[in-house]
């Protein structure tokens, strides 16, 4: 978060806002200390019910989405690192992503990093009934946990994990609420290993500059 505050300082006068949203079932109790430490001047929200992940079909954190001045998505869900703290694990440099972000702030829809509508639709399409059901199972699990029924919540968290195995949020949030080893018979690192390692856990952002279709329009 301190990293994002520095980026925000550099870019905020260019009609730019950061809306950060903590996906934390225990809300301020868990996310609060991080926000207090970073003391951001951008918008920092608390999302106990993982609503944003549900609405945008996000499966991991940190995830970034670019939204233009009209409220339209121009780059969908992708891993968004602000520094290289996790580079040993992820193998990902943060610089290319941050450069792409700066490019967009400067150039708007002329930026080669915004995606065509066709590509966006392809990336955002969710017609998988299981993914939709998984979100409901996770929501039920969260409600039961919050009302003091962790034991009853676990089968619903497990069902969410089974229905949407791509969601790391469903795994990690559930593990954080109990003992992964005894309640889920696994650990986070075992799961990453099983899935094929950190390259699968953090798929690198797709930063090949697209031939922006808008640039191909006839000159006025």
């Amino acid at each position: 978060m301190p990293g994002w505050q520095a980026i925000y300082q550099q870019l905020k006068d260019k009609n730019f806002e950061i809306v950060s949203v903590a996906q934390d079932t225990n809300g301020v109790k868990d996310a609060g200390p991080w926000i207090t430490a970073a003391n951001p001047t951008y918008i920092a929200l608390i999302d106990e019910k993982h609503l944003v992940s549900k609405l945008y079909n996000m499966v991991n954190v940190p995830t970034g989405v670019w939204i233009d001045e009209q409220g339209k998505i121009v780059r969908p869900n992708e891993v968004a690192f602000v520094d290289d703290r996790f580079k040993n694990f992820s193998g990902l440099d943060s610089a290319p992503y941050l450069n792409a972000l700066r490019n967009w702030i400067e150039k708007g829809d002329k930026s080669v990093y915004t995606m065509s509508e066709e590509r966006l639709r392809e990336k955002l399409a969710v017609n998988d009934l299981n993914v939709i059901l998984a979100a409901a199972e996770f929501g039920l699990g969260e409600h039961l946990y919050k009302s003091g029924h962790l034991k009853e919540a676990i089968p619903h968290f497990k069902e969410a994990q089974r229905l949407n195995p791509k969601s790391w949020n469903y795994k990690r949030q559930a593990y954080a609420l109990s003992d992964a080893k005894s309640d889920y018979g696994t650990t986070f690192m075992d799961e990453v290993e099983k899935a094929g390692g950190s390259k699968v856990y953090y798929p690198p952002p797709d930063l090949k500059p697209a031939a922006a279709p808008k640039d191909k329009k006839p000159q006025e």
Binding site: K14, E17, I18, A22, P33, I43, M58, A136, E137, L140
Partner: protein, 166 residues
């Protein structure tokens, strides 16, 4: 002894008949739009959940109207020939089948039997945002509890960023 058993069996039959006709009375917790409502008297019947129209409004904000099941300007017509799957009258009240309604509007419903809790996910109309490429709006609190909506940043470029403490 014999008559006792047959009386027992008879009353069992009566009970079964009763249950199959009217379902089973239950307390229910309904979570709709991530908001939980306690319902003291609902009716559970072969996977369906019936609540009074008063509780329907309380739990979901939806009301029965001549044009369909409505909340503000949002209305879902109920197919006429299937009316009895959704609405029935008994004990002087009008009951509405919230599980059938969820299926009608392509909304996932999951349920915890032991805690009599039903969770309703996003309706199909709430999932349209992504295919229109319009960023789905949301309203959430900051640390001090003050609410912010994504749409308040309209007119600016926004980096929406999720993270977590875990």
């Amino acid at each position: 002894m014999k008559w006792r058993i047959s009386t027992g069996i008879l009353s069992l039959f009566l009970l079964v008949a009763c249950v199959s006709a009217r379902g089973e009375e239950t307390h229910a917790t309904i979570i709709y739009d991530d908001h939980a409502t306690e319902i003291s008297t609902a009716n559970k019947d072969r996977g369906q959940l019936w609540v009074t129209t008063v509780d329907l409004k309380r739990a979901t904000g939806f009301e029965l109207k001549p044009q369909g099941v409505c909340r503000n300007e949002l209305c879902f017509p109920v197919p006429k020939p299937r009316q009895q799957e959704f609405v029935r009258k008994s004990t002087g009240k009008t009951w509405f089948n919230v599980v059938a309604f969820a299926l009608l509007v392509h909304q996932p419903v999951v349920h915890d039997e032991a805690l009599a809790t039903w969770y309703f996910g996003l309706r199909s109309d709430q999932r349209q945002g992504l295919s229109s490429l319009e960023a789905p709006d949301f309203t959430l609190p900051d640390m001090s509890g003050k609410l912010h909506s994504l749409s308040e940043s309209r007119g600016k470029k926004v980096l929406l960023l999720t993270w977590a403490s875990w």
